[in-house]
Symmetry: C2
Subunit: 303 residues, 2 copies
């Protein structure tokens, strides 16, 4: 089944206590689609500048990702520069150059408009709705957002949330969006905005799913070597949505499995810079780590 | 089977955004033994002042806790005063009056010396070893500690750790004790000090167990109303050790179940001030919340 993602394609310069990398391939749509490509066919909607090298497009195509929705514009590609301390939980942004991303107007190629599953990565909520208008009859829509839109375009974001089945955000964003410090209360407020399912990403502490009055808690995979957390949330979303698009089963039990697949992809991603670890996984490695999540969380019944 | 705990009995004055309480019954041995009393017979070793009211001892006895090891000394009982902000994760200590606890010399009544399971709550590591010398032939010894001893009595603490089967500490303490920010690496270093099992408590993020090269991740129960986190770690230890002492099965699968029982007791405790919630639970409530932990963590196999 086809999965369309709209988001950013970027060059990232990242410094962590374990090394650094300059102008590496990054961006939410890149991480998302690479992670999702292990599960389903993905189509990207994004914009790049004319400085974007062919080799990156060749890589995406090698993952069977449809790149016809990547618009090449006159100008430079979005660039982000950040660094992490030893705790590796939050990046300090050193520089952001939106470049061609500033005037991004997502246009879906005709063949994308029949997509059944859509992921709206973290972009202007006005654009998120523009994209949805271009899809004829989606059956599952999920989105991400960030503090910038929660603070600056709250009304537009709330309009988008009315159209969305699943919202994926981090714990700080959930608290800010709801105005409520307690995460369970925050989740109930956010579910009243429209989404049927809320997934709260907590970095090294895993993810929580809130759906009706039920909660699912998935741990993060405890790693001995976390190298670079950039893109972990997008890889989580990619594994999660890729698995759902592949199975087209949106029952809670399958959403829980999808969360584990998302956690698996995030755990691989943080093991190295950029897409180095997730660009060429074997599916057997993914299955094996899924099994490790089971060992990690399993306990016996009360008797 | 009998379980002996040595630790503090105290008066706590606690302020949280949701209320405050003055001179309420607290202390590590109090929380621990109350939580453990739902699973097994517990015997306390502690010291109180002559200001300690009979009603508190009557309460402990009503939980079938053996209080013959509580030494009443001339002077005042240990007092602690602290407050929590909205995040409720770490207390700010406003005042500590050690009083009779300052010169605590744990003496085990003769009948305690056959105990098979011993918990050394957070006290001077010299005293932890003194207690162990008084127990004839324990089969399971666990302990807690804190930054004060890690910084001030490191050599003595390392001596204690050689004698301990299970160490229960929080994530900050694990990082400080090992000198290693990555928790997986930190755990491996700490296991090399002697304990066969390390349990890292992470407050609202649950707990991690490290044993040989395996890890178990238990979430905390997501609560809509966290009232007062004081004593949560001790209630965790109490539920955990109480279940192990009751079953006398120290295999990993049973340790995992014990961690869930510990998490259950901690989740009840934070629902109100002092021991208000855990002083009169039905065992059916404990079993029911164990089941909720299963719902919270369950996901299906890969196929």
């Amino acid at each position: 089944m086809s999965l369309v993602v709209v988001g950013s394609v970027a060059f990232d310069s990242v410094k962590t206590p374990f090394g650094e990398v300059d102008d590496a391939l990054g961006g939410s749509a890149t991480y998302f689609s690479t992670a999702a490509s292990y599960f389903t066919n993905v189509s990207i909607v994004a914009v790049v500048g004319n400085d974007f090298p062919e080799k990156h497009l060749t890589f995406l195509k090698s993952r069977k990702i449809d790149i016809d929705g990547i618009d090449k514009q006159e100008g430079k590609t979005f660039r982000w520069k950040g660094e992490y301390g030893y705790e590796l939980n939050e990046a300090r942004t050193l520089d952001t150059q939106l470049n061609v991303f500033q005037s991004f107007q997502p246009k879906l190629p005709a063949k994308y408009r029949d997509a059944k599953v859509v992921f709206l990565a973290n972009i202007d909520p006005d654009l998120q709705r523009d994209v949805l208008k271009q899809v004829k009859n989606p059956v599952l829509v999920a989105c991400d957002t960030m503090n910038f839109w929660i603070e600056g375009k709250r009304d537009s974001l709330l309009e988008t949330l009315k159209l969305v089945d699943i919202l994926l955000i981090n714990d700080g964003e959930a608290r800010e969006l709801s105005g409520e410090p307690n995460l369970v209360k925050a989740a109930n407020i956010i579910l009243s905005y429209g989404p049927k399912t809320l997934i709260v990403k907590r970095g090294e502490y895993g993810a929580l799913m809130f759906k009706d009055d039920r909660i699912f808690a998935a741990p993060a995979y405890p790693l001995e070597a976390v190298f670079d957390p950039t893109g972990a949330g997008d890889c989580f979303a990619g594994g999660f949505m890729g698995y759902l698009a592949n199975t087209m089963n949106f029952e809670e039990s399958n959403i829980r499995k999808a969360i584990i697949f998302g956690s698996v992809m995030a755990s691989f991603n943080v093991e190295s810079f950029s897409l180095d670890r997730i660009k060429s996984l074997d599916y057997s490695e993914i299955e094996s780590r899924f099994g490790e999540f089971r060992s990690l969380t399993h306990f016996e019944d009360i008797r």
